[in-house]
Every structure is written in C-alpha cells, then in structure tokens.
Amino acid sequence: MSAGRNTEARNRHDTAARARYLEAMIESHHQIDPEAWARLAQRFHAAIPHSLAIGLTLVDAGPPSVHMRLPYRDVFLGDIDAGLWHTGIAAVAADATCGLAVFLTLSARSAIATLDLRMDHLRPAVAGSALDVVADCHHVTQRMAFVTAVLHQDDPTRPVARATATFARTGRLAPT
C-alpha cells in the first residue's frame, strides 16, 4: 500500500479523532502567549486560600506543565529529630500543582475536581530545603484529565516523591 492511500484510509477512519484534534487546535495553547498563561495560572492559584496559607508559589506555568515551589517552614515537619518534612504536606502541594496543570491544559475552560491521588514516597524530604513540584497533565478526555507530578528538592534527578492523579471535568466555565 502506498503512503498516499495509507494516509487517505487513516483520514477516513479517524474523522472523529480529526474533529477532536481541530477542536483542540481552536482552543489551542499556542494562541495564548506565555505571559498570559502566567497571569491565568497566577489568578487560579491566588484564588485558593490554602495554597496561599502554606506559601506555595508559582515558578513556571505553560500547559501541559506547571512548576510550583513550597518554601520550607518548621511547621511542615513530621519528624523533628531526623529533620524531615511530613509527607502529608507533600500531598497538599502535589494536589494543588496537579490541579493547576489540569486547569491550564483544559484551556481554563473547565471546572475540575480531584477524583483520586496517589503518592509514592521515594526518599525523605529534608528540612531547610524547599519542595519543588512539577506536574504534567499528559492526557485529557471529554470527562477526565490525567496528571502526574514529580516532587524534588534542589535536584530534579533525585525525586523525593511521585504523584499520580485523576481529575473529573465537572463543568464548563465562562470564558475568562
């Protein structure tokens, strides 16, 4: 089979996929410049009281990825003797970062809710250093969004934890 016929067959059978692709193109991320994404991300982030209360800050945001940083505080300790962060606050940071990655990847058009979140704790997070979270919304469907995140301190090649979360698209937001 020639390359041309192959393409034609693919096009014919993937009409639905092409329609979805076109819809995605219309809502394309590329139509929004990086500063606009940063403003949108900051606005979403600043509307979450708990994220602000713990001091979570936005480092970088460009769909499908978001990078947030949680500066160290003594109140985040789980083990005073060993000087280790509590893992619960890592889940808070992961949930917030994954949520923002999903929100931006859906072009800020969907209301979202966390359905589930899994944390794998690879090594302890040590006191004194910030916790960085980089989330990546790798797949979306009409109803769902899938996201993973890596948590690290200073060295991205030595993650302290990995997070996996699924979000439901709970409604359509008015254009911003």
Binding site: H50, D74, D79, D81, H86, V92, R118, H121
Partner: protein, 151 residues
Amino acid sequence: MSVRGSTLASALAAGDDEAMIAAVPYARYLGLIVRTDAPGRRAYVMPYRDAHIGNASLPALHGGTLAALLELAMQFEALIDTPAPRLPDPVDFTIDYWRSAGPAECIASARLIRAGRHVAQVQAQCWQDNPDRPIAFARATFVLREASAAT
C-alpha cells in the same frame, strides 16, 4: 535517642494522645485533635479554619488537607498499634475523593489492616456531619521502625 523522640515514645507509653499529636509539628499546624468515643476507637479531628479552604466559591476544604488528615490518622494508628520512637514512614498513599467537604470540622477514623514485621497496611475514611456519608477514603503502606527503642 533525642529528647523529642522520647516525647513521642513517652506519650505513647502514657497513652497521651494530645502529647502524641503535639510531638508532630505538621499535625499541630493542621490543629489535629483526638477524640476517643470508646476504648481504642479514636477519631482524628481537623477543626475548621478559613485557611483550609481550597475552593472559595463552593466553599470546600482543600483536598490536600483531607489527604493530610487521613495520612496522619493512619500514621498515628499504625504507631499506636506498633509502638516505636518515631512515626512510621509512608511508602505509598492513595486517596479517593467521594464528595466535597464543606467549611466545617472533618473527622477521620483509621484501621490497621495488617502489621507484619516490616510494613503496616492501613485504611481510613473521613466524614463531616454523617459517618455514613464519607467524604474520602484512603489507604497507605508504612514501613515500620525498630520497636526495640520504644520499649
């Protein structure tokens, strides 16, 4: 063993839940308290605070705070059942969100499913006004520390 470590150990030995919570800064930060409605049945309560809100328009508690509450409840329950001078470390943790949590205190109960020599497997749920309408379910696996130092 350091002074702080023995604080946790002595709180356990004395069965002093308040001192046990006080030995963990992040549990204190969330305002966690323990209520005992029957011997050996603890409810871990996260009092309501405006700073715990995640969605201001609903309003709803931040999902992360529910995860933290459930993780702490499981961790303390595992610690009480397998006493050690330090909290057990979670290896992995999973939470399913069943409904959103309103602006009110949230109550968690945890159950140690199995404790072997090296790991403990725990489950927990949390609710607000009605235990029959749970808000979230969590499970976790913890690495158990050496018990010898605690005894």
